[in-house]
Symmetry: D2
Subunit: 358 residues, 4 copies
Amino acid sequence: MSFNSFGRVFRFTTWGESHGPALGAVVDGCPPGLMLSEANIQPFLDKRRPGTSKYTTQRQEPDMVRILSGVFEGRTTGTPISLMIENVDQRSKDYGDVAKAYRPGHADYSYDAKYGFRDYRGGGRSSARETAARVAAGAIARAVISEVKIMAYVTEIGGDKINHENFDADYIDQNPFFCPDRDAAARWANLVDDARKSGSSLGAVVECVASGVPAGWGAPIYAKLDSELAAAMMSINAVKGIEIGAGFDAARLTGETNADPMRPGADGPGKPEFLANNAGGIAGGISTGQPVICRVAFKPTSSILNPVETINQNGEAANIITKGRHDPCVGIRGAPVVEAMMALVLADQKLLHRAQCG
Amino acid sequence: MSFNSFGRVFRFTTWGESHGPALGAVVDGCPPGLMLSEANIQPFLDKRRPGTSKYTTQRQEPDMVRILSGVFEGRTTGTPISLMIENVDQRSKDYGDVAKAYRPGHADYSYDAKYGFRDYRGGGRSSARETAARVAAGAIARAVISEVKIMAYVTEIGGDKINHENFDADYIDQNPFFCPDRDAAARWANLVDDARKSGSSLGAVVECVASGVPAGWGAPIYAKLDSELAAAMMSINAVKGIEIGAGFDAARLTGETNADPMRPGADGPGKPEFLANNAGGIAGGISTGQPVICRVAFKPTSSILNPVETINQNGEAANIITKGRHDPCVGIRGAPVVEAMMALVLADQKLLHRAQCG
Amino acid sequence: MSFNSFGRVFRFTTWGESHGPALGAVVDGCPPGLMLSEANIQPFLDKRRPGTSKYTTQRQEPDMVRILSGVFEGRTTGTPISLMIENVDQRSKDYGDVAKAYRPGHADYSYDAKYGFRDYRGGGRSSARETAARVAAGAIARAVISEVKIMAYVTEIGGDKINHENFDADYIDQNPFFCPDRDAAARWANLVDDARKSGSSLGAVVECVASGVPAGWGAPIYAKLDSELAAAMMSINAVKGIEIGAGFDAARLTGETNADPMRPGADGPGKPEFLANNAGGIAGGISTGQPVICRVAFKPTSSILNPVETINQNGEAANIITKGRHDPCVGIRGAPVVEAMMALVLADQKLLHRAQCG
Amino acid sequence: MSFNSFGRVFRFTTWGESHGPALGAVVDGCPPGLMLSEANIQPFLDKRRPGTSKYTTQRQEPDMVRILSGVFEGRTTGTPISLMIENVDQRSKDYGDVAKAYRPGHADYSYDAKYGFRDYRGGGRSSARETAARVAAGAIARAVISEVKIMAYVTEIGGDKINHENFDADYIDQNPFFCPDRDAAARWANLVDDARKSGSSLGAVVECVASGVPAGWGAPIYAKLDSELAAAMMSINAVKGIEIGAGFDAARLTGETNADPMRPGADGPGKPEFLANNAGGIAGGISTGQPVICRVAFKPTSSILNPVETINQNGEAANIITKGRHDPCVGIRGAPVVEAMMALVLADQKLLHRAQCG
């Protein structure tokens, strides 16, 4: 099976490098008859787009998406949808040093070890620019699961967490950090700015909630909804951890405190009300009808201006500082990507469920 | 793609229910010519086997594996290897209550929501007995990656963590908790026993280290080594979180402190010495040559004797206590399963790397 | 993707060798709630079973199937269905010569070239006994597509064709050749008997018709219904050709004579009556609602008593005669296998169609 | 698994419609370090290009390919290679009639039955223009299997066959029919011209030979080399039949006459000389080291100027003639497509063999 595809029935393949002419995705298996145009995709790309605040990379990419196939008279035809985004603001000259020495924390050394050489310009294929293609594909996935509402937000930057009592969903899109807590956002402005000025970087945690997922999506063993989500999230650049519901904290609970008790719900028999959601909406790999919740840990951006000890391609000792234009905290722009991956997994699971269970 | 298969080139499919006549796995894509007999598999099953101490379920299953195909004169032939383990000690009568009401934290409700009904005996397909098939398949995977040494151990039960200064690899197999810290094991004996006696249960965290993985296994995007590990681990029963290397803690580091600096290694140019391993041996989805490290969070066993509020299949309020024989802490027996999944992922990645890069 | 699996959503994996203890299949993705027991499968195995007439191999295999998982209280649960058939009448001592020299027309040489060695007993994995597992899986597929009626029959043995004017569907199961033409069956009795007595063997052509397939199953490009059928049929032992509808003869028609004109059908608008079926019920990879028709060419059994020039494993010249018990015309027992593969492809396509198009 | 992808490790996905802005392919799993530029691909596209003689469609498409990713400094990087070909000479106005009524022999009716509507312009996704993407991908496959030489040629048009005694490999590329027989080419010029002038069309048979394939590529059961070839060829537009080696004629041979005897070869022990190649270079699904040979039947072009009885989208009786620009014999331009599919299958099988057998 291919290395750059994801999904089983609703399946997409991405391509493109940071400094190539373009990047894109091919979405296969999309149901026919859905309304779709570039206007349905562009807003999600705009959320992820670089260069929109001083807290993100200053690379200026319009990230204008073109649909090249699979749509006729404004509707999906059921055939593959090809999406293309041109790269505009490449500055490959910034990468002279990278060509010669390996940036710790980056894929430089491991790519060379695997392939024998690499496209070093901006990280090549390992650049987070690839996630633009995912976000575009994710917008199509949303059309497949119109019954589901997906919301991702940053809950923690550099170890500074939001206060859930301050949670304001409307505020998430009103600040450059996708932060649901007005106070935390104010603190993060200073934190991230300090990191940027000092040539350093910060990590972040992103939480994602999908509400409206009906009970019954998923599978018992290797195509579990949580297993697919784990694969999807861990495939995002800089992600080092993923947890569902109570996650790692569940390991510290007892059977009683971790159980999500049920009682008869207002919607009649067979639709329970759950009194807790430690399971994050997934039991035995299958959705329960509660909101599906996961959290994703992003490491700090590896591209920093402060020098790090490394080796060059001749194996000699070297120090490297990473010029170029980088996000001081990649986790921030990770939020729209996490949303996209949630949508992509759910769309696939919806269709798989329909295949097997009608 | 199928719901009960895992892997791309080295691929296995499991089948079987807790209270059916047998369970098993078919391993496809195994290289030919490897020495293999039941004797290579049985020791791993014995590590996972229930009923060996009072800290695990009292179900008595010999878990004797039979190889039904794919081996000729003691060597793998390259054709599919069928493994079968008979169920011996089923006691389906314990499950009368489960047939009528949904156990919170279990897959009972979600299975019914998906399939319209379920095999309620011992959880049916959602039982952790399925992991015996994985452990058997994992033993074959180990033969494929003989250059790699895999070791999993429990680092935390019920929130009580080991002290890494006490780490003793030899002790792991000498106590019923797969615990590398003699002091922690003593404390856990009491903890787990108390949970068992009080009809409750505990969660756990399992860490797994694979050493000897060469640089270059993995892929840049959706077949990333870490993405595959995340899917593999999250597919294990009761797992709610997975992290690689520093994991969630990486989100609290800076770019400098999270970087794993390199310097020229003793093995000559191109083989760096790494001064840290926050990346857990994986950069950009590809192994770096350092040990591959992950941590997996197991929730407390959902089957507890203490009553929990729920609904029955008519949608009416009910209370349920789960009789049957259960592990007070499923995470303990999760350690051999985590090892198996690590082996299965690495075997597949090794062959995939060989396919693409020769 | 695995080497011994077939299908995308309704997917099965077979395992087992001619002279191992057993063979079997795991069927994954079967919809839940279908009535299923061994009694639904056994009749199809009985049709394929060896040793039932002097025109087939004298190996006596009861081919009793056991369902080991995936069925509860007589209904499929949606989890994998494991099927096992024990081998009973192995006589490995017949294969001493085969161990030393390569049988032309068999997989002996190619297996050795690929794997470095082989299980030579009865052809090992390359034996047509593997098709018993397909037939068992096919019986489950039939339950998935209960709206479809599938019928395969032999139209030609050793170049002697049936006369379509004599076509009698009821006669197919009343003669040992699955022949729909009473006259041809009488001729074939002599033909096959002569071949058997002279230590030779004959080829055959099998035709298969699936009626009741609704319009709309299939896909435009690589998951085309005809492409999947071609892969399925060509994967059967001894098959060397597959054609759909008019097949190779279509290459000799003109656009007008090959077209299948339509006119308004009795079932109302949108359900045309087709005036011909040169397309074999498939246009652009998608079913048209007409019967799906294919023809499959089986080469003569390669295992013959007459000596053939070959080399041995040291590369030296040798002559080989193949003892053991063999079908004088493998194509005959191919008919139930062709039916099974048709059912397996259609079941998968039905579920795939449901996934994408609801 | 996706509907528009082919291959397992060397895997490609195509996209695009006849009258959309562009079409293309994404090739995933290509080994790194191969020399590749547009100049390596263009010659193969030029062979398939329309409008080059009066025997093909007069649509004028330059079919200029662009590589958008996966190549750096002239070499493949191991990451996905995105190929794009812009459509230039669309004339959608020709398709007014097609929008309203179903062309018999085309995918019009089956697409509507499946998807509820269709992109009717030039057949949309079901147009043979899609094969340009395959030919481009095939050029990359050739770089992966540089040890193999692939040659396809037309052996029969409208029932008029070549005389193998006239076979002249050099002549194949010197006539507009990819015909290896100078006499047949002369006859075909008249045949095809007559069909074109009379508004009719003709079928053809294409034969393809791959020499240099080492023994050992393929797999025993569902990933058989012949099974994969069958799927690949049958997925080409207008193909209705595929046979390997002696194919359907093998069904008329005896075990002795069909056997391909071996004797010690000049290349030493273990490398036999085969005295015949009825198997078409494949035994038991695995290559034997002989040339791999298949034949593919193309039906006559369904788009003809002569009226055919049909129904319109309201289900009413209608007659249709297909304007637009069409090949009087699609099989001719099928030859380069058959070559491409042969290359794509072999590249995948080579890498799969390397994965499993090292």
